[in-house]
Amino acid sequence: MTGKDEAELSGLLRAAIAGDERAYADFLHRIAALVRGFVRRKVVQGGVDPEDVVQETLLAIHVKRHTWRPDAPVLPWVYAIARFKLIDAFRRRGRRIEVEIDEIAETFAEPETETVSERDINRALEGLPPTQRSVVSSISVDGHSIGETAAKLGVSETAVRVSLHRGLAAIAKRFGRQ
């Protein structure tokens, strides 16, 4: 974290907010690397997948980017969000371990039941309504553009944008504190 980083990153986010998509992708890549380093330093024992926390942090940064003041430094804002999401991950893990102990007591007859990480973004994706799910995975996993996705699904580009926006907001909300 240097002054140069700070100046470049806040410049990129300002450009992104002004509508520069290239700047936004650049910003998110660099933030992902910084947050990954931060989370990996903090997560020393298992139970929390650092990459899950990175993804949740990026989602939160995205859906809450209106909470950044363009005249304020960007890194304290980013790290405050990352720390919040990390604490949330630890807290949930604590709760999940309690739940698992209860479940073992109750379902002792079927020990083969596998516990799937509820935090995994894929699970959140699966929970979306079909249209939002196909739009989000077309653009993310398949790497299609908005236009290609619209053509593939036979809907307007506006409809694709709306589904993408709602889908991402819904995933972020699912990761919110419960």
Binding site: H66, T67, R69, A72, A80, I121, V136, V141, K173
Partner: protein
């Protein structure tokens, strides 16, 4: 999903950003004031002798307390609603309203004979005070909790409590125009209880509803 893929989706959704927090707070305050005013004027309204009352120190001092509380709570909650903003100086300003009340109480105890202290403290309508401050403040509190959801408070319980103090300061400002009990002894007791109740509600609301 790989992080790389997630970034593609976020980038494609970069289009329109929601209203910035600074502006959104002023919209929220305007809506909250409108709700509080509507409840106040359709229920109890200002006291009939408000014009002569405005020439008395005690009556006007109530607005100083409540407005200082509302202003300091607004400054603090604006910082609490965004991640990474420094809050320590704004926290310190939260002491301003209580200190002013303490100062006024001390002055009142000097000015008023001891025999009258009890009468001034109990006042004439403490139940109305404790009913209407929460009643006027509950709508604004809901608006402010909604703003916290819209924002990204990293300390949701504290932010919720401050939302309650802001709603309380606002509601008490309106209520003070109705209330006949102008003694700082009354204000320090019953206004505080009513506002503390809103702060408690706000903290619970922050715990239960402010997730992101």
């Amino acid at each position: 999903m790989r992080t790389e893929d997630l970034i593609k989706a976020l980038d494609a959704d970069a289009g329109k950003m929601a209203m910035p927090m600074g502006k959104a707070w002023w919209v929220a305050v305007a809506v909250a004031v409108a709700i509080a005013a509507a409840v106040f004027f359709t229920t109890i309204g200002p006291r009939p002798d408000i014009m002569p009352a405005m020439h008395t120190m005690r009556f006007m001092s109530k607005f100083v307390f409540t407005l200082v509380l509302a202003a300091s709570a607004l400054a603090l909650i604006r910082a609490l609603s965004v991640p990474g903003a420094s809050t320590s100086r704004r926290m310190a300003w939260m002491l301003a309203a209580p200190l002013l009340v303490v100062l006024a109480v001390v002055l009142e105890l000097f000015v008023v004979p001891q025999a009258d202290w009890g009468k001034r403290l109990v006042g004439s309508n403490m139940m109305i005070c404790m009913t209407f401050i929460p009643l006027i403040g509950i709508g604004p509190l809901a608006v402010f909790l909604g703003m916290l959801r819209y924002g990204a408070p990293t300390r949701p319980v504290l932010a919720g409590a401050v939302a309650g103090l802001l709603a309380g300061g606002l509601a008490a400002t309106f209520y003070a125009a109705h209330c006949f009990d102008d003694s700082p002894l009354f204000v320090a007791t019953w206004y505080t209880i009513a506002i503390a109740f809103l702060a408690l509600l706000g903290a619970i609301g922050g715990r239960l509803f402010v997730r992101w």
